[in-house]
Every structure is written in C-alpha cells, then in structure tokens.
C-alpha cells in the first residue's frame, strides 16, 4: 500500500504507531455538539475502528484502529457530523479538508458556566468560519473568564473573556463583598473608599467576580463584549511558555481580523523547508515588532483597547 | 422636608473634659432636658458619623458622656477641646426607673465602660442613700490602667460598699485582682426578695454575672441589665439592635432580666 502521509494527515487522519492503521480525529469546534452525532461516531468506532474512542486534548474524538484503506468509506459516514458541526469543507464526502490549523477549543462558556463572560462556542464557530480550512499550524482557544479552564495560555491565540464592570454607586450598600472577592480570588483591583468602591482599571482583569458577588446589582456588566488576547503560548520540547497579553479590552471583530492577518504573516515568513513551522517560532524569528505590524494591519481598535508595546516571552528553556 | 426631622441633631457645647485613661474621657456637655440614667444619645460629628453613647452623668444643665476611643467618630471626638461643639440627638431608650430600686438592697455590678451608664444611678443613690435598703457596688476593669472614674471611685470607696477589681495587673498592684464574678459571693444580700441587682458591662461579663446571682438564688425579676447593641438610628428603624421582637433602642437598653432572659441575638 502506497500512502501519501501528508494527504492522510491533512485529511485529519493520523499516522499512528500501528502500521497501516489510522485514527480519525473528529474535531468539535468550540466543544459543543448535538448528542445525536454520537451515534455516527459509535458506528465508525465499532464497524471500522477498534471500538474505542479517545477524547482528544483539543475537544475532539479520535476514533482509533481504522484501516488506512477504509478512509474513503469513513469519510462518507462522517459527512453528517462535518455538516452538522458546520465545518468548512471543500468537497463533500471527502472528510476534512485540512488539519493544519487545529480545532478551535473553548471552555463551556456562558451557556452554562456562571463565570464565563460570553458564549465561547459561538465565538469559536465565528473564528472557525473565518479561518478554516487552513494548513498552517495555528492553535486558537477561547475561555470564558481568566480562570482559563481551557488553558488558552498554552495556545497561539488565547482569548479570555473580560467584562468592563459598571458601578452604580447608588445601589452599593458597602457590603464589601466585591472588594473581598476581588482581593481573594482575583487581582485586588477594588478598594473601598468613603463606603463606595473604587476600581483600578489597570489592575482589573475583567473577571466579573464583582458582578457575580454583588448582592444589589450595583456592579453590572457592560453591554459591549471585551476580551484579553494573549498570544504565542505553547507547549513543546524546547521552550514551553505562557501566552503573553497582546491586547486588553479588545473587541471580537478585531480579534478575527488579527487572526486572519496572522495567516498573511505566516504566508510571508514561514520557513517552508521545515515540515511545519509553528507560528510562535516564526514570531521568534522575525521578532514581535514585525509580527505586530502585520497583525494590526487595518485593525481598528476601540479607544478602550490597550496594546502591548512589546512582548518578551518567558517560559522554560531546554 | 417635613417639619420635624428626627435625625437632625442639636448642637451642644463641651463644658468640661475629664480624662480617665489614655483612651477614655468624659465629656460634660451643655444640655437641658429630662434624661434618665441608662438612656443614650446619638452623638455625632458631621462627616465622621454618629454613635450611641450612654449618659454617664446627669445634671441640671449638662449631661456627661464617657467615651472610649474605638473608632472614627470617637477618635475624632477625643481631639475636641472645652468650648468646642458637637451634635447630639436623644435621649433614646427607656433608662433605669429609679422607682424599681427604691427601698431595696441595690447591688450594681459594672464591667469596664459599663460603669458609665450606671454612674447616674450610683450618683443618685450616693446622694440619697436613705432611699435604699443597702447599696453594693462591684466594679471590674481589665487592668489598673483601664480604671474609669478614679476620683469618684475614691469617694465611693469611702461612702459605699465598693469592690473594685481588675482582671489582671502587674505584680506590684495592691488592689483586688480577678473577674467580677469571683466577687459576687462576697456581697452580702440580706433579703433575696428585696434585692435589686443592676448588671452592666460586656456581654460575657453580664452573662456570667447574672448566672452567679441566679445561682445565689436571686430571682430573675430582681435583676436588671442594660444591653448594648449597634444602634444606628436609635429610633427603631435601622433594625440593628433588634433581638427577636424587641428593639433595644426602643424597648431597652435596660431590661428586667425576666424579660431579657428570653432575648436572643
């Protein structure tokens, strides 16, 4: 059997340890799916795979033990899932079109989680529509709040919900709960002065604990959605590192534009001699300042947005 | 605004300031009006706030407030000098009904600043001892440095049966040492049915002192206590001083223990 491994992996199948067996990675953008699709996954696992599934590290299912020569058949069966999850696909019944840009992950977000500032899966799908399919190796993750359950700080683009708390001092009863919670759970951006609360904007990470804990609705959320965009975090052998803040209080459209711009930047700078070069290493090569120039091209940030003038990544170096 | 604003205080002049300890002073304020021992005023300094203070002395044209520095308002008060003005509204609460104690063996047990609200009663009894079958005063303070009304205590010590004790003191202290409860049994009660016991002080001190007297066989009805709670308004609105169906500011702070024993926080 002669197999073009690059085509296989691009098609979201893996070259596994077991020769001539592959594994299909069914990605679920934003992590949310209708239960009815489980039936299809089960069918593939039982009829084509080894009956097992692995829940991937990026919110997907990896159906293991599929014979490589069954890829076309499996692609036909998985089609309703691809369609149902609104995956951008170029040719129907041929499976995934590309697997370079990884599944866009999202914590459960504000459909369920009280801490979340926005509907993460929905935003994930918007980004999905904007950037898929794409061969460049880019990882995007969205988290509803700075608790960061999805670990966006190990992604190329980490999107963290921020709320801009609104304070109605007439409603404040000086109970001090917001100050206490902000101090204990968050960054201590609130202080009580003259029985009313002062918020230090530069310290505030927009976590919303003040709103969540205010018993009188003196603290409420802004109608506008804001985000913290942290970039170029990564795991890996050489230099695992945390994503660092690029833009605070950024809006949704600007984030999408920046990610799209980043693909242009990659196209310009990627070292095509390597099997795949991750965006973080490209930025290491060109320097952040060059990246920033590309990323912010034609991006119109609101006056609220605060852009890092430079970023110095840390992390562990081996 | 409506005609009478019950929250509006009146100005009062400081006539005299007596320092008891580093942090406790008695302010003698110009005041005319009927006031009973045990009643309290809301003493206020604009922009600093109000706090409920019991009257610790009552004269024709003055009232005394013995005030401990424990917060924003009282800290500020202690900067005031004779002739300065501050604001008061009151009197609030029921106070002690002297009639209840007439012709009885009166025993007053006061702990710390609890001496202030009963000082008016002591003064009355001290002035007219004949009206009472007897009078014992048992006063406790944390330490010798915390003793209030030292001058008065000296005089009372000469005229009255006074036990003065401190919770603790350095070795060279020559007075009594120990909690007031240790001295309850030293007080001679001639007739258990004709005794009137007034107990004022910190919550724990009151609780155990009451228990000590009950143990000696004193009936609830012969015990009076004065409760201190956080009274923001003094007029039954703010809710803070409520204990079950009772508002301390309206219905107290002085309670016969037969009532008080049913109050819970």
């Amino acid at each position: 059997m002669d197999i073009n491994t690059k085509k296989v992996t691009k098609n979201a199948y893996r070259i596994t340890k077991q020769r001539y067996k592959t594994a299909l990675r069914v990605r679920v953008p934003g992590g949310r799916l209708k239960a009815e699709y489980l039936e299809i996954l089960q069918k593939i696992a039982d009829e084509y795979g080894d009956g097992d599934l692995h829940l991937t590290t990026r919110q997907g299912f990896e159906i293991t033990g599929i014979d490589m020569d069954k890829i076309d058949e499996v692609n036909a069966i998985i089609q309703p899932v691809i369609e149902g999850l609104e995956i951008n696909q170029i040719n129907p019944n041929t499976g995934y079109t590309a697997a370079g840009t990884r599944n866009i992950c999202a914590c459960i977000g504000n459909r369920v989680c009280p801490k979340a500032q926005y509907e993460t899966s929905g935003f994930a799908k918007r980004i999905e529509q904007a950037i898929f399919p794409n061969d460049f190796h880019v990882k995007v993750a969205l988290t509803g709040c700075p608790n960061d359950c999805i670990k966006v700080r190990m992604h190329d683009f980490g999107i963290i919900g921020m709320t801009l708390p609104q304070y109605d001092k007439q409603r404040c009863v000086s109970c001090g709960r917001c100050v206490e919670k902000c101090t204990k759970l968050s960054t201590g951006a609130l202080t009580m002065e003259n029985y009313k609360v002062t918020r230090e904007h530069d310290k505030c990470i927009g976590c919303g604990e003040c709103v969540l804990n205010c018993p009188t609705n003196a603290w409420t959320r802004n109608e506008e959605k804001f985000y913290r965009l942290a970039i170029m975090g990564r795991t890996g052998k050489k230099n695992p590192r945390l994503a660092e803040d690029f833009i605070l209080w950024i809006d949704e459209d600007s984030i999408i534009k920046i990610i799209k711009n980043t693909y242009d930047y990659i196209g310009e700078y990627i070292d095509r001699s390597l099997p795949k070069e991750h965006i973080g290493y490209i930025v290491d090569r060109t320097g952040f300042i060059e990246y920033k120039k590309w990323a912010l091209k034609d991006v119109e940030l609101s006056p609220m947005a605060k852009v890092a003038s430079n970023i110095y990544w840390g992390g562990i170096r081996y | 605004m409506i005609d009478t604003n019950v929250y509006m205080p009146i100005k009062s002049n400081i006539m005299e300031i007596i320092q008891h300890t580093d942090v406790e002073y008695t302010f003698r304020m110009a005041y005319k009006g009927e006031v009973k021992p045990g009643q309290f005023f809301e003493v206020s300094i604009p922009k600093y706030g109000e706090c409920p203070i019991s009257v610790s002395g009552i004269g024709e044209e003055f009232i005394d407030f013995t005030i401990r520095r424990v917060g924003k308002v009282t800290d500020e008060l202690h900067k005031f000098k004779v002739g300065d003005i501050f604001f008061i509204r009151g009197p609030y609460g029921n106070g002690f009904h002297m009639d209840d104690y007439k012709n009885k063996e009166v025993i007053i047990v006061a702990g710390g600043s609890g001496l202030a609200p009963v000082k008016g009663i002591i003064d009355i009894i001290h002035q007219q001892p004949k009206d009472y079958e007897g009078f014992n005063l048992l006063v406790g303070f944390k330490s010798p440095d915390d003793i209030l009304f030292k001058e008065e205590l000296k005089i009372w010590n000469e005229d009255l049966k006074l036990i003065l004790t401190v919770d603790g003191a350095k070795e060279d202290y020559r007075g009594k040492v120990g909690l007031v409860t240790q001295y309850v049994d030293d007080i001679i009660i001639k007739n258990m049915d004709n005794v009137a016991i007034i107990i004022v002080g910190p919550p724990m001190m009151m609780k155990f002192t009451v228990e000590a007297f009950l143990k000696r066989g004193v009936a609830c009805e012969n015990i009076w206590v004065s409760y201190e709670r956080k009274m923001h308004c003094g007029i039954g609105k703010c809710g803070h001083c409520r204990m079950d169906d009772t508002y301390i500011c309206l219905d107290g702070p002085v309670f016969n223990f037969s009532k008080a024993k049913h109050l819970y926080d």
Binding site: N194, N217 | V70, G239, L250
Partner: protein
C-alpha cells in the same frame, strides 16, 4: 371605575402623568443580570407601557423606589446640617399584590415603630400604586400561604390584554388621566402556588429555638452574601454613613444605605464585639423575624411570600423550605 383603553391612549396618559409623576415599573434590563448575557429585572423610571416587564417576576422588589438603597440624610457644609431638597414629583409605582402588602410592612417600621421616619414619610405621602395582577404563580412564590396574593389597596389596577389595557381606577385623582370605555373585569390574582408554606403558630416555636440543630445546616451552606435581604420586599434595615467629599474635605454628607442581617459587620459594635458569627444564626435571625418575631410585635407576618429570596440565593437555600422545616419541628415538639 373600570375602563378599557388602547395601549396607545394609555401611553399618552402615562406621558401626561409624567408631568406630575415619576413612573416606576419593573424593567428587564438587558445584560444587567448577575451572569453574563442575562437580564436584571428591576425597577426603573419608564415612559411607556412596553418598557414594563409584565411576564416575569422582578428580581429586586419595588421597595428601592420608596426606600432608596442609598439615601442622603444631610449635606454638611462645614458643620452645618442641610437636608436634601424635597423631590418635586410624586411617584407612581407598578407592582404586584405581594409587593403592595410589603409596603404595609415598610410603613409599619418607618412610620409606626417608634418615631416616624421623615424621609420615608415624605416619599410615602406622594406615592401611588398601580397593581399588576398575577396571571400565574411564579417559581418560589408562596403568596397564597401568606395571604398576600390579593389586594384592594391600589390606586390603579392594570391588566394589559392584547393591544388594549384594562384599568381599575380606584384613585379618583387618576380619573382625570385615563379616558376609556367602561368595562367590567376582574384583576388577576393567583389562587394557589406550587410552594405551600406552613407557618408554625407562635406557641410552636420553642423558647430555645436558637439552639435547634436545624440552623447548623446553614452554617456551611450560607455564604452570607445578603442577597436574600436585598431582594426582599420587606427587609428594611439600614446603616448610616458619614463621609467627607474627596474633592473638598470641608463638605460631606450623611447617608443611609440598606443593610443586611446576613452580611458580616451587621452586628459589629464599636470596640469589636459582634453577634451571630455563624451563618446559621443569621439565617435563624432572618427567618424568625419574617414568620415569628415580627408577628409577635405587630400581629401579622412580615414575609409576603414573594419568594425572591429563594430566586436569588446563589446557594439554592430555600426560605420556604426552612419555614416548613420549622413548622415540622414545631409539630415534632408538640
């Protein structure tokens, strides 16, 4: 007088009323809920009928209209006390039966428990109530158990039906504003709730109820946030606050703000002593006030059964469940 008018005409009347009245009603305020992308339904000045949230229970009660959360008592110019200007407009408040019953509880404290509160009195003298009937009982409501499901004590009853509005005008003064065809109708009110509360008779409450193990459960569960108090239509506690203006230290003000018996600091006395440190004791203090202590003092229950405390508790502590437990305890002890 009972009449029917069109929404359009009603809004015109509201507009005219606006010259004399500030009109408050429950409004679903988008994005203003505790959680992101949720509404907060609370009282707000309105101009038209459509702004009013008729279908859902408001999260906060109308008490904040007549008893502001923060209320200035005095302005200080150096050492002078100056009362705030008197509000010139009267108030018209849309609310439900239970909330009208709750006003009686506020009146009890502010007007009758000791001296009259002049600030409350001033507002109270100008306020007129518009009853929103309840088509259905909401989750956690137990007004029927409390006898607060129905009221006649309103100036205007309103019943929107399609594009029409049925009005029951009881306050003669309001006749001048609403002109429509006379039409008989009954105001909606609920006759049963999913939640039924059995309140122990006073004698069923043991003297040592404070020691009952019942409360200990809440030591762990209650987080002492005070939401139950702040959403309650009958809680009336406040605290006083004096401040300097940061911009001019010579001036300042004295305010009162709502207080909660559940929140830390409620019982703190100058000097540091405080009572009811255990959250279960605070729960007991609150619960007994609503269904026992208040009744002992004033002869009727404080609680009006709106269930907002249950709606609001982040720990899903149910007041009504607790009262029923109290009742069962009373039965056991009988």
């Amino acid at each position: 007088m009972k009449i029917e008018i069109s929404k359009e005409d009603f809004n015109k009347s509201l507009h005219r009323l606006g010259d004399e009245y500030r009109i408050y009603a429950p409004v679903a305020m988008a994005y203003k809920g505790t959680f992101s992308d949720t509404d907060s339904i609370r009282y707000k000045e309105i101009n038209t009928l459509d702004e009013i949230e008729f279908n859902l229970k408001s999260h906060f009660s109308p008490k904040e209209v007549i008893l502001p959360i923060t209320q200035v008592l005095f302005y200080f110019t150096e050492d002078q006390y100056k009362e705030p200007e008197t509000e010139k407009k009267k108030l018209l408040v849309f609310l439900r039966a239970c909330d009208i019953h709750a006003v009686k509880r506020m009146d009890q404290i502010y007007l009758e428990n000791g001296q009259r509160d002049p600030y409350y009195q001033e507002v109270r003298d100008t306020v007129k109530f518009v009853l929103i009937g309840c088509e259905k009982s909401y989750r956690n409501c137990f007004c029927v158990s409390m006898g607060t499901n129905k009221t006649e004590d309103y100036s205007l009853g309103i019943k929107p039906v399609g594009d029409q509005v049925l009005l029951d005008i009881k306050d003669e003064e309001l006749n001048a504003y609403f002109f429509g065809e006379e039409k008989d109708f009954e105001m909606n009110y609920v006759t049963s709730n999913d939640i039924k509360v059995l309140i122990p008779e006073p004698h069923q409450i043991a003297k040592d109820i404070a020691e009952a193990p019942l409360w200990r459960e809440y030591d762990e569960r209650c987080v002492a946030c005070g939401k139950c108090n702040f959403v309650c239509s009958t809680c009336t506690c406040f605290r006083m606050q004096d401040i300097f203006y940061k911009d001019n230290e010579n001036n300042g003000e004295r305010r009162r703000v709502w207080a909660s018996c559940q929140v830390d600091g409620y019982t703190d006395m100058a000097g540091g002593h405080s009572f009811r440190k255990r959250h279960g004791d605070r729960m007991r203090y609150k619960v007994l006030h609503k269904v026992y202590d208040y009744n002992k003092r004033f002869g009727y229950h404080m609680c009006v059964g709106c269930g907002r405390c249950d709606d609001a508790c982040p720990q899903y502590i149910s007041f009504s469940t607790c009262v029923n437990k109290l009742h069962d305890l009373g039965k056991e002890e009988r």
